[in-house]
């Protein structure tokens, strides 16, 4: 087991309305020099959270409400750019368990699913509502694949493939699954699958 299982999350939302938030913004390159994963939450969105002298800005990420939130709602195309897994490591260390946007970049999405962070792509109407109503309490149910918005916001379905859903709900990663395929792998290599001619 590599992370806490995720079935249902109820939390007030933390909203970042900017579009195309890239992984350089989520975790600036100067924090990629570490050889462990620990403590990256302190550096997540560092350029928004800290002044040049290291003091904290008044950004929502530095407020108790921000720090208590487990659901991040972000503008369109969240997580684009660099493949750095330090981005989801930082977000989960900060306390985020779910990211909701109208689009999530491919590599960030893949990396998130491997770290107990659920990326949800939700339809525009719900996304707009969430952006317009920051800080509301939202429930994400991975069992039913639904996002429940409060007040008259409604309930929305989201899509996730069964395999990823299973891994998140059980808190298991894929290493064990791949290790279980060594017979198929041996066979593939024996049959000269793949290319490397040297």
């Amino acid at each position: 087991m590599s992370f806490q299982p995720l079935t249902k999350v109820t939390s007030k939302t933390l909203v970042l309305t900017a579009t195309n938030i890239d992984t350089d913004q989520i975790m600036p390159a100067k924090f990629l020099s570490m050889t462990t994963k620990a403590g990256l939450g302190e550096h997540v969105f560092a350029n928004l959270r800290y002044n040049a002298d290291g003091s904290e800005t008044d950004h929502i990420l530095n407020t108790p409400a921000g720090k208590a939130s487990e659901i991040l709602v972000a503008g369109h195309n969240f997580g684009c750019g660099s493949s750095r897994e330090h981005a989801p490591w930082g977000l989960t260390d900060y306390g985020i368990r779910v990211v909701i946007s109208s689009e999530v970049a491919d590599i960030f999405r893949t990396n998130s699913l491997k770290n107990g962070l659920l990326p949800i792509i939700i339809e525009k109407r719900a996304h707009d509502w969430l952006l317009d109503n920051p800080g509301v309490e939202v429930t994400v149910d991975l069992d039913s694949c639904e996002v429940h918005l409060p007040r008259n916001g409604g309930t929305y379905k989201f899509e996730i493939d069964d395999f990823s859903r299973h891994c998140l709900m059980e808190g298991v990663d894929e290493m064990g699954y791949l290790q279980g395929q060594h017979i198929e792998l041996d066979k593939f290599e024996k049959n000269q699958g793949g290319n490397r001619n040297s």
Binding site: N20, N77, P88, E184, L185, G193, N197
Partner: protein, 464 residues
């Protein structure tokens, strides 16, 4: 059944097929690793008591955290002790696992996406991964090549395979005759401006049409490199004689080269194969391009004015860039010029920049640094005297590495600096907090360095 190039290469690597219940298990032919995204993966293996399954299919180098200067005493000025530790950790991990590593003593050391092709390790029909989003570069050889995170680096180290669902395919066709002075960098910036920064999300791209057929391998690598800037994890060009000629004679070139070429020649999209999406751009419509905003999709021809903001996000980008809608982008004063990165640090790129800088002087106050992609590229450039052209012009000639593309090694700009950069990302703060990045070709970067303002390289009579 007709197939696309992507389909053909994908099918060759299926260990366990995809079903509704599980993703495909995809075999990986070549795993490139570097110091930034591998240490936690090696730790994972150690904690689980796992070995590296195929060290012979793994190649390592150091590039992101490495200084591009050497001290007078021969020591290297790492930006932090942590950066040095990271490099040492990579060297120790690869030594412990018997992985071929191009470290400080190797002439192949350099940016991982320059190293692989230079060694001939990157070949048509392969699956190639690396913990770096610009792994898409290797698609220039007709390989499926894409970036992965550190967890998957661990999966590939231990199992030589990853779990993945097959992406959709998109054909990007550019046919016609490029205008004089239009480079591969301009072509890809125009493509990204057309389809948007998220336009390729969920797709594997194939670049098709005579423009790519006529392009050199260096040019194709520049194009494929930036596929990820449109959101696509991978972008490919079908292999042809230009590809085969590039590989011949390199270290990892196949022993039976003729047989390999025969096989590689079959790796083309069949006539009538269906793509999920098709984008067509006329070559004649592409101009030298520069970006004006804070992501690579915000690009315009260098002759145009800065567009009106269509959204709050656009206006935020213009505010950050301190640029005004309606102003011409050409003529904007710059502080620094960076020529390098996995996008544009190969010999052809350096030649193109040198051709413009030859016999000219960099504008006063414009710090210009030229960083070759690998040690070998550096040697080759020096043999041609390119280093002398750069230094005579007043530019700095550095050691190979990623350098100012992401600034991890401390090569960054000062807050507020406007940097014209041949790299791939103009994100806010990427080249240092508050730094404003304008992406451009090596030709445009060199012309800009000379005049000290954003300059159309065609003013210098640059020919494509």
């Amino acid at each position: 059944m007709t197939q696309t190039l992507f389909d053909k290469v994908w099918d060759r690597h299926i260990v366990v097929p995809e079903t509704t219940a599980n993703p495909a298990t995809l075999y990986i032919d070549l795993h490139l690793i570097h110091e930034v995204t591998s240490p936690q993966a090696f730790t994972e293996l150690k904690e689980r008591g796992l070995e590296v399954r195929r060290p012979d299919r793994t190649l390592a180098t150091i590039d992101h955290s490495t200084p591009t200067r050497v001290n007078a005493d021969g020591s290297r000025p790492y930006v932090t002790p942590q950066a040095e530790t990271q490099v040492e950790t990579l060297l120790a991990n690869t030594k412990a696992h018997g992985i071929e590593t191009h470290g400080w003593d190797s002439e192949h050391r350099g940016i991982v996406h320059v190293m692989g092709p230079e060694l001939g390790a990157t070949q048509p029909g392969m699956t190639i991964v690396c913990g770096d989003s610009h792994t898409s570069t290797h698609g220039a050889f007709g390989a499926i090549a894409f970036g992965i995170g550190t967890t998957q680096v661990g999966h590939v180290l231990a199992n030589q395979s990853i779990l993945m669902r097959k992406p959709k395919t998109m054909s990007i066709e550019v046919n016609g005759t490029l205008q004089t002075g239009v480079t591969p960098k301009d072509v890809i910036l125009a493509i990204i401006a057309e389809i948007g920064i998220g336009g390729g999300t969920g797709y594997a791209l194939e670049y098709r049409g005579n423009v790519f057929r006529e392009m050199s391998m260096d040019g194709r690598m520049t194009v494929c490199n930036m596929s990820i800037e449109a959101g696509a994890r991978c972008g490919m060009v079908a292999p042809d004689q230009i590809t085969f000629d590039y590989i011949e004679g390199r270290k990892f070139a196949p022993a039976d080269y003729e047989a390999a070429c025969e096989d590689w020649a079959s790796l083309t999209t069949d006539d009538g194969a269906i793509f999920d999406k098709v984008v067509r751009i006329k070559a004649e419509d592409i101009s030298p391009m520069v970006t004006y905003g804070t992501h690579p999709g915000m690009g315009i021809p260098i002759t145009e004015v800065i567009p009106a903001a269509a959204s709050d996000a656009d206006q935020d980008a213009l505010d950050y860039m301190q640029l005004t809608s309606g102003d011409k982008i050409a003529g904007t004063t710059v502080d620094k010029v960076f020529i390098g990165s996995c996008t544009n640090s190969r010999l052809e790129d350096l030649r193109a920049a040198a051709a413009i800088m030859k016999g000219r002087t960099v504008a006063q106050g414009v710090t210009t640094i030229v960083v070759p992609g690998s040690v070998i590229t550096k040697f080759q450039a020096e043999e041609e005297g390119l280093d002398k052209i750069f230094t005579d012009a007043g530019a700095e000639w550095r050691e190979a590495g990623c350098s100012m593309c992401l600034g991890m090694n401390g090569d960054i700009g000062a807050p507020g600096d406007l940097v014209v950069s041949t790299s791939n990302r103009n994100f806010m703060g990427r080249q240092g907090p508050g730094v404003r990045t304008v992406l451009a070709s090596p030709e445009t970067a060199a012309a800009t360095a000379i005049h000290g303002v954003i300059t159309d390289p065609r003013e210098f009579g640059a020919a494509a």
